[in-house]
Symmetry: C2
Subunit: 328 residues, 2 copies
């Protein structure tokens, strides 16, 4: 019998989860839960129910794992603890400073309900975190570097859209090639924020808007842009739709370190992602961890987990014997 | 109290394990066990005992994890099952076709003794296997590629040394750059053995040996060289010592795959190692998994495990809270 998945929140990430489920024959999309009017949603998976979010309380028997596809800023801090006692849940919570509090809140509920929760899943946090951990335990004397991009940052794009006179915008985070090369050389450079990434903005301005003022406001925005070399391009709505409608992303985690009695040998460990669709790849990670959550709960486990706490074999539908035979 | 490590076999790998232990303050090298005369060994770790291998039976109280540093061909198939009931053990068994039998033999002994064994640890099998698994569960519709090198293959170097008239030799496995680029482009090429790697040999011939015959014998050797484009360079003993005394290696695992309702989005996941010292990096992986074996056994687990069965958090001396705070 297939693992029955529920999705809460049907934006880009929810749709990415839906398409990932189709690629995993041991899983099925049982229901999409939404805070919008269910009738307004067009869900390609024909057998999936589309239900209002407030029906989640009564659907425990119909869903094995609930994948929470809301935002980290306001949705997940409420939703994940709220449903962790009712369902095995998986989320992509990525507000780093708030992970300890989120973990504690979710853990208490998951244990209360005897369910497994997996938080902070995706590629960063997620696959990148795993690679930081594996590389750091093998090379304890070394340095970690994470570069993001080239890719669309939705948070930065939103920040530009809030500026008066801006109709639409798309922001790309771009790693500085010279910085990546310096890291890979093993030189272990100290890199400032500005030295690691640049920011490239494509902005559609409202008619008659003061372009110079918009550009200045973007470049001066604290946290988002002020610490970076930022380029602003004004383009038309048509150009934005034609050239910047995708959500590509990626990046790399690099650890360099030394071994030997006199630390005479250098090593470089690099993990790199190049993704055409950030939400679809993230959704695919969430689905693999949904399988793990289900299987761990079937074995009697409960509580909040992260990617660090989950043996890789739980992610695969293959048996240990098959995994050893095909991938070891 | 530190985790007390024993090493069986004090060649390149055993020495790599020794230097890795020095980089992990929660571990100490308790003893080196050898089949040679213990007096003939010079072990830099002053507090470590150097003992004959046949004393292993009587040293159970002095060693928490025994790391087996013998060869896969003849040593490990005997040694790992032999000691798996007495000690938590870790090995780097890499004869792929024989892993199922090795796993079964080790598992039975480990369960009998209530100990944890970790087999087939290192970078391939090991870190590369993990990356094959993680990438395949996230991108179920895709293709895996593993490239090795540029690096020294000890098995191929040994094969050349067995040819009549050869005094010494070093063989490098080299990935074909065009093949790697074709894979990274997402084109999912079908690649033959010859298209993926070339082999480069540096040979010191005995005085008066027939160089043309040696070159021909190398290039025609089945399994080792016949399926590859092979280059043979004859050099002097001094040149070999000067330019080819290291044991660098590395390579990459690449998975490309597609997602989306119409598989419209492509993704590339790449894991790459660039290692100055193959045995030291492998030793460092074995040491991290020795920590995991010890901790899992402390929690009451037993039996044979591979990297697939071990939650990443067991590899680190840090607490779950510290890991979430620093690496997630």
């Amino acid at each position: 019998m297939a693992i029955r998945i529920g999705i809460l929140g049907y934006g880009n990430l929810g749709k990415g989860v839906e398409s990932a489920i189709r690629q995993n024959p041991d899983m099925e999309l049982a229901a999409v839960f939404t805070r919008r009017d269910p009738k307004s949603l067009s869900v390609p998976t024909k057998d999936a129910q589309v239900l209002p979010a407030d029906e989640l309380e009564g659907r425990k028997g119909e869903v094995d794992v609930l994948i929470l596809c809301g935002g980290s800023a306001t949705d997940l801090p409420k939703q994940t603890p709220q449903y962790a006692a009712m369902y095995n849940v998986v989320d992509s919570f990525d507000t780093h400073a708030k992970i300890p509090g989120h973990f504690a809140a979710v853990d208490a509920q998951a244990k209360r309900g005897g369910k497994v929760s997996v938080i902070s899943c995706g590629w960063d946090p997620g696959m990148f975190s795993l690679n930081r951990l594996y590389a750091s335990v093998v090379l304890p004397e070394g340095q970690d570097y994470t570069f993001w991009g080239k890719g669309v940052s939705q948070g930065h794009s939103d920040a530009i859209r809030r500026i008066c006179g801006v109709k639409d915008a798309r922001q790309y985070t771009v790693p500085v090639p010279e910085a990546v090369e310096a890291v890979k050389s093993g030189a272990a450079p100290q890199l400032s924020t500005r030295q690691k990434h640049t920011r490239e903005c494509f902005v559609v301005a409202q008619e008659g808007a003061d372009l110079a003022r918009i550009e200045q406001e973007i470049k001066a925005m604290p946290n988002y842009f002020a610490d970076y070399d930022t380029t602003v391009h004004f383009i038309t709505e048509e150009e934005l739709a034609r050239d910047h409608s995708g959500l590509p992303h990626g990046g790399c985690v690099i650890r360099t370190g030394r071994t030997g009695m006199d630390l005479e040998h250098g090593h470089v460990v690099e993990y790199r992602l190049n993704l055409d669709s950030n939400p679809e790849f993230t959704g695919a990670v969430l689905v693999a961890y949904a399988r793990a959550a289900y299987r761990m709960n079937q074995e009697g486990m409960s509580g909040c987990k992260t990617v660090f706490d989950i043996a890789p074999s739980y992610l695969s539908h293959k048996s240990g014997e098959e995994l050893r035979g095909s991938l070891l």
